[in-house]
Amino acid sequence: MGTLVLNGATSGSTTIQPTDAATVTATLPGATGTIMVSGNMPAFSAYLTGNQSISATTYTKVQLNTKTFDTNNCFDSTTNYRFTPTVAGYYQVNITLGGSNAAYQLISAIYKNGSAYLYTSVPTGTGNGNIANGSCLIYLNGSTDYIEFYGWQSAGGVFAGGSVNTQASATLVRAA
């Protein structure tokens, strides 16, 4: 089994076609193989390890300090807690934010380049500890654009630690 390498143009489309289309079938992948459409699609998932103390009514960046995976090393889990992908395109971005008390209003926020892009709010008294889930598609330019994750709680307290309580993820769904 050899390797097919296509060199040349870096834009446009490439067609793979058997020389005799009437009698030959090209099957991709093979019976046991896997075809990787794009091997450099950034994707990450990270979570808050322990409870994070927060002030009341203050949008606070979630310290997603543990990675579950980070395919292209685009997520900073130690300093800025931000995702800066290296491929331009449209990204599915998700956050699950756990609060500390159902008596408090909870807001999760996805920030793009330092400004709020999406809010998701959970009112008070919705259960045994609130969780605010947010999700959206965001265009990121593959160089300077970045996303971060913030939360807000009406009476302070904590963001609940643990991957089942507070985590965020993103993946490229369509290149630019």
Partner: protein, 56 residues
């Protein structure tokens, strides 16, 4: 920060700082603490550093 502002302006509520509020407090988890990122209240002036420092 929130508690200090409330002491200066007791008429404010948590809603003034929420999703539809005119005041945005933020903490970037960079060790610099809470700060006023936006103050667009229609009648109350943004507290000065001196006012905030004077609140216990």
């Amino acid at each position: 920060m929130y508690e200090k502002i409330i002491k200066i302006y007791p008429e404010l509520t948590a809603e003034d700082f929420g999703r539809f509020g005119t005041i945005l407090l933020q903490n970037d988890s960079d060790g610099k603490g809470d700060y006023i990122a936006k103050w667009e209240h229609p009648t109350l002036a943004k507290p000065t550093q001196e006012q905030l420092a004077g609140v216990q």
